[in-house]
Assembly symmetry: C2
Homo-oligomer: 348 residues x 2
């Protein structure tokens, strides 16, 4: 357990009244962690059996979503991706005018557009915690699922900046999150390669197996590379399909890049070009090594707490686009002070 595990670490957020709407794997894990950290939580899910499960775990779960979110300071919106744009104005209306809203959907552009349409940009902070599992439902949820996770939040200028700062502080304190500030479009493009395309590759590898001469022998010989490379093919199909359709253009674009690299590898193999094949793998290996071995430098920046926050938001988005994340965010005495952690430049 990190410092985030103690209630002391959430000082300043201990009195927050939060609600989680849609308590599947991700929403449920958020719910359990919020409660563990000592926050006042309520829950709602469209499935009556899931509401019963929440009650069985000691979380108030009223029959209607309106009752669950009434009087709350913060609402996390989860559930199937296509339902989020419609649910957002509904919980916003029931939650009161000062309530901060965020979601946990795996794509951000569509829900951000819905928020703009309904005039909710001032208090809706689009979010996406980068964690998950092949399992599903509140029964599979655990309070540690999102501990230390990269958690994208989309900062906006003007009135939107204050809720962003406040939510950032809460996620740092409660989840030990690495808060990554990105625009909705930048998120969707990066997530396409960081999460959605890998689901396509896993599906293709597992799916092609049954069409080979001896699928049973393939499964028996399956080494770590096959096991790891197909793991997310076991994700419930509906969840994967919603994710891919929700980010279609970006996924197809990034997939094109991966297919091109794959064809480069195949061409080098076909022609027995050892040198080219080795160079392509050296490049791939250098990138993979950065996942486990990337050096970061801390940068501290302060901004005035008032104003239109254009410079602040511009800087935040630069941090995220550069692969950085926020490690601290303190609002004090008319100013806001951030600590960002930025990776050293990734060479070619």
């Amino acid at each position: 357990m990190t410092d985030a595990g103690t209630t002391a670490a959430v000082a300043g957020y201990g009195g927050v009244r939060a609600a989680v709407v849609g308590t599947g794997l991700i929403g449920g894990s958020i719910l359990l962690r919020l409660r563990e950290a000592g926050l006042d939580v309520t829950a709602w899910d469209p499935d009556p059996a899931t509401r019963d499960q929440a009650r069985g775990r000691g979380v108030p779960a009223p029959e209607t979503v309106e009752a669950a979110v009434a009087g709350r300071d913060l609402i996390f919106l989860g559930g199937p991706l296509p339902t989020l744009p419609a649910f957002l104005p509904r919980i916003a209306g029931a939650g009161g005018p000062d309530c901060v809203l965020t979601d946990v959907g795996s794509t951000k552009a569509e829900v951000a557009e819905a928020a703009a349409r309904h005039g909710l940009l001032d208090r809706f902070v689009p979010g996406h915690p980068m964690a998950g599992a092949e399992s599903a439902g509140l029964a599979a949820a655990v309070p540690t699922l999102l501990e230390g996770a990269a958690w994208v939040l989309c900062p906006g200028p003007g009135a939107a900046t204050a809720p962003f700062r406040w939510l950032t502080g809460l996620l740092l304190a409660v989840f030990g999150a690495r808060v990554v500030p990105l625009t909705a479009d930048e998120h969707d493009r990066a997530a396409a390669l960081a999460s959605h395309v890998p689901h396509l590759l896993a599906g293709a590898l597992a799916g092609a197996t049954q069409r080979t001469a001896a699928p049973d022998a393939v499964l028996t010989l399956a080494a770590g590379s096959y096991r790891d490379g197909t793991r997310v093919a076991a994700t419930p199909a509906v969840r994967t399909v919603n994710m891919l359709l929700g980010n279609r253009e970006q996924v197809l674009r990034e997939l094109g890049g991966v297919q091109a690299y794959l064809e480069d590898l195949a061409q080098a193999l076909r022609s027995g070009d050892t040198e080219r094949l080795t160079a392509l793998y050296d490049e791939a290996g250098a990138t993979r090594a950065l996942l486990t071995n990337r050096a970061y430098t801390d940068r501290v920046r302060e901004f005035r707490a008032d104003g239109d926050h254009t410079r602040e938001v511009g800087w935040l988005r630069e941090v995220g686009a550069a692969g950085g994340y926020l490690a601290d965010c303190q609002v004090r005495g008319g100013g806001v002070r951030y600590v960002a952690r930025l990776p050293h430049l990734v060479g070619p």
Copy 2:
């Protein structure tokens, strides 16, 4: 630790004098486990520093390969794949006429052809333990690396059958291996999809990352799907390239099947065909589920110990092609008795 961890479990093999030639990750792990199980072992590696390392661990490691294998009952041949065909006759000549030979290379057709050319089919049993890691060298070797692994052995008729049976019994007793009997060609075809193509996909995903708009943000958002899907891209490039070139035709054929499935997925996504996309993922998910959840039935078969073994070898190859493996092999009173574990039929 399983039963394989105790010296008692290797009764009947305790007096075996074994040598391991090429003590990298796989060979080194075999060496350490053989010694742990109480066998008399020697080692040789072309790298003097590696020989020193072996000595540092208490294993005799003479300066020449000839000295290391002289008087041994069994030689495991490891090391870089392209070196195996040339090393095989060299260790066969130095090891004496009754010495059983096996290798641990990731492709089998080429080394089996070399054995045939040199008249070694009667005592060379082509082998491939299906395990590994991104790390390399004796320093990374551990005696548990191959515990319980699927371990392909290629049975041959006539005089080749007795060494196959004897080595099967040793691998079951010492490593708790699941011995998978396959022809060299069947192995290479199954391994192409079970191991080699996943390395191509991992290379493409990691390699394409640097060519995107914001590679740093992709790495920061990298979820489990990306981490798992790129893991083997960190394997030393030379090892991956040797493996792919050593099985080129089969790898390109199986890659074609995966590329076709990937294009099916992309086409369904492009056209927004939810139903088709879901059906493709349901099929992929059902196959992936078999990896962790496959039911087996035991089959016992007995054969005469003498004769030309054509029926015995035919049955063994059927077991492997059906996704089965050997769980026991006992030679007693003029007969041989196998217990094979066969998966229930994999439906479409």
